[in-house]
Amino acid sequence: MGGLGLAFCGGMFVLSSRVLIYFQSVEMIGDLLAQQLLSMVLLTFFSMLIFSNIITALSNLYLSKDLELCHSIPVSVEELFISRSLYTFVDSSWMVIIFALPIFLAYGYVYEPDLGFYLSLIHMNVAMAIIASCIGILLTMVLVHIFPAQRTKDIVLLLSIFMVVALYLLFRFLRPERLVNPEAFFSVAQYVSALKVPDSPFLPTHWITETLWAHLNPVEGRPAESGIEILLIWATAASAVVINVWIAHFIYFDGFSKSQEAKKRRAGGKRLLDLMIMSVSKPFGKDLSAIISKDIRSFFRDNTQWSQLLLLAALIVVYLYNFSVLPLDKSPIRLDFLQNELAFLNMGLAGFVLSALCTRFVFTAVSAEGDAYWIIRSSPMRLKRYLWGKYIFFVFPILILAEVLIVATNYLLDVTLFMMILSSVTIGFMTFGIVALGIGVGAIYPKFKHENIGQVSTGFGGFLYMIISALFIGLIIILEAGPVYMLFMSQVKGSVISPIEWLFIVLSFSAVVVIIGVAIFRPMKAGLKALQRYE
């Protein structure tokens, strides 16, 4: 994980440096663009910090299990609030600041400012993080004062998912790739206005931008006057802390107390769920029907679960959209060749999308039983039936999704009938393997003790599953590449395939069948054994 983080930071630094060097080379508007980018980056991180603080504050100030003990010891509410706020500040800020650092260092690398830039960068970012933390914590206190903490958690989670989906779709549909195509814009003014960032002299990010820019561009900047911004940001940070502690004195304990009260929660959407369960679970036996109906109800009543379907929907829309805007006609490669080559590679890409999806939903299927797994274990249902039941439950919806992805993208690419059939059949069989790997590896590495099922997929087992399924998908693609090329070229050239080539084709496809068979049965068997041994 550390390596991944370093690679990400390194990549961000290189990318940011290249962008800034490019901006410097643009006459007239280059520096303006760099300043706009700085302002945009700061505003983005400031918003992220506020949001991250809301999430962390909910847990640290209201929902943590150790809070009961903390509130029972002889310390004042203010002391407790300050200590938990400090935790919240550190917890939610360190990662955002570390990931923002490469971008600021890239500015330092490209503009070669004086030491004052780095000093201002450090202390002003800390001040900004304090302000963001105070805003986040204050918002949390107000929300919990109005709604109970558990409800606030759901609301914040839903809002965050909607926000991510909206931002993702918005960003994609803005088509940022057009920025590198000058023909897409009529004038410099239009180009600059496309990058315009909402800014205000009352925003802490504005004060940081002004100060940093004064160091980065001393000719046009005002280094001598930037002291006022430093004063402003630290005064605001200090005032925010005092105001938060003062407000906490009145409303924090009330909110905490409310969050401890058990609320009557009736089951929502019962009729709709009953209808769905009746139609889905009918073909299964009584025991499996019971499991399926329990899984469906639990899934749709848990906001942390079903809301992820929104992310999935956004992912699919953008996936398909990307294919619809591919500039195939501008490629120097022959169109029919390119279309079919892309369709072939798309099988692998769709496979990876499916395996990412399965990591979240299928790999966690066994662990989702949580502490209640004893009910399954002590019931007369055999574990083999339980595991295969889970498999069948997941394999068909994922198969439908896989086919929709492949057929729709092939349609957008306008591929040949041969490629359409080949990719539909391949992704279909691949899905059976990907799902079995998910259930099997999930059963080998079950994690019944968890607070949030999302954490399960980010553990070692989830990582291993991603690697194994990527290898599986890669192997299938590699094995099919040769024979598909031969068959496609014989169609294009109208040539006859030799007996040796036929043998090669048959052997390759047979190997694909064998590998898919192994991917289905081997992990399921190993998963069953592991579950039987589990204590």
Partner: protein, 241 residues
């Protein structure tokens, strides 16, 4: 009927349960006592099919649990000490879920039985609420409903009175007596010597994984060589070793 033959369980080299041999007849309420960490819960979890024994056999109603787990578990209702359930189901849905696991048809008879059980355990008013909003005691009572829904021949119970108020505790004691009178074999571990004395016809005391005393309350008095209540006998027997 329950038979434990040389039942043994090792945990990372530690012998948690050491060659236990017990035979409990049909319709007997059996109390399983012992200090903390003596091996009570491990024994019970093995009997419920949640843990695999290292050695030995568990026979439930004539079925070997290792060889015929489905048939053996079909006869068992298990009530664990901690009421972990699916919190996003309502009480009613949870009971239907458990009934499904035991292969019961969703008939009007089942609905009536579930309704009766919810009424008996005073959960009828809250049956449409999600389990996550239940108190500990309510969850414990719901687990008991779930264990009884398929009318088991053997009831395995781990610390049944934890989290129950006096009214709930009395209700549970009465239900156990009634179940035993109807022919259900009850194997119950408890810390409450008062409950054991009140409800159980036969008692075994386990210490460091071994049965150190077994019999009726009168027989235990003889073994301890003293008169007095079960608490005195328990303390004498467990301190002697």
């Amino acid at each position: 009927m329950i038979k434990l033959i040389n039942l043994t369980k090792f945990y990372r080299g530690l012998r948690a349960v050491d060659r236990i041999n017990l035979k409990i007849e049909k319709g007997v309420c059996f109390g399983f006592l012992g200090p903390n960490g003596a091996g009570k819960t491990t024994t019970i979890r093995m009997m419920a099919g949640v843990l695999k024994p290292t050695e030995g056999q568990i026979i439930i109603n004539g079925h070997d649990l290792a060889k015929y787990p489905s048939a053996a578990k079909q006869c068992v209702g298990f009530i664990p000490d901690r009421p972990f359930m699916y919190e996003k189901l309502t009480g009613l849905e949870f009971l239907h879920f458990v009934a499904g696991l035991y292969g019961l048809d969703s008939t009007s008879m089942l609905n009536r039985r579930i309704g009766d059980l919810l009424g008996l355990f005073e959960l009828k008013q809250r049956e449409e609420e999600l389990i996550e909003s239940y108190s500990h005691g309510m969850k414990q009572r719901l687990i008991m409903c779930a264990a009884l829904v398929h009318q088991p021949k053997v009831l395995i119970v781990d610390e049944p009175m934890v989290g129950l108020d006096p009214k709930g505790a009395r209700l549970v004691k009465n239900i156990f007596r009634e179940q035993a009178a109807e022919g259900t074999t009850i194997f119950m571990s408890t810390h409450s010597l008062e409950v054991a004395e009140e409800v159980c016809e036969e008692i075994a005391i386990i210490q460091e994984g071994r049965i150190i005393a077994h019999g009726t309350a009168g027989e235990l008095r003889e073994q301890a060589g003293m008169d007095g209540n079960l608490e005195d006998i328990f303390l004498r027997l467990t301190q002697e070793r």
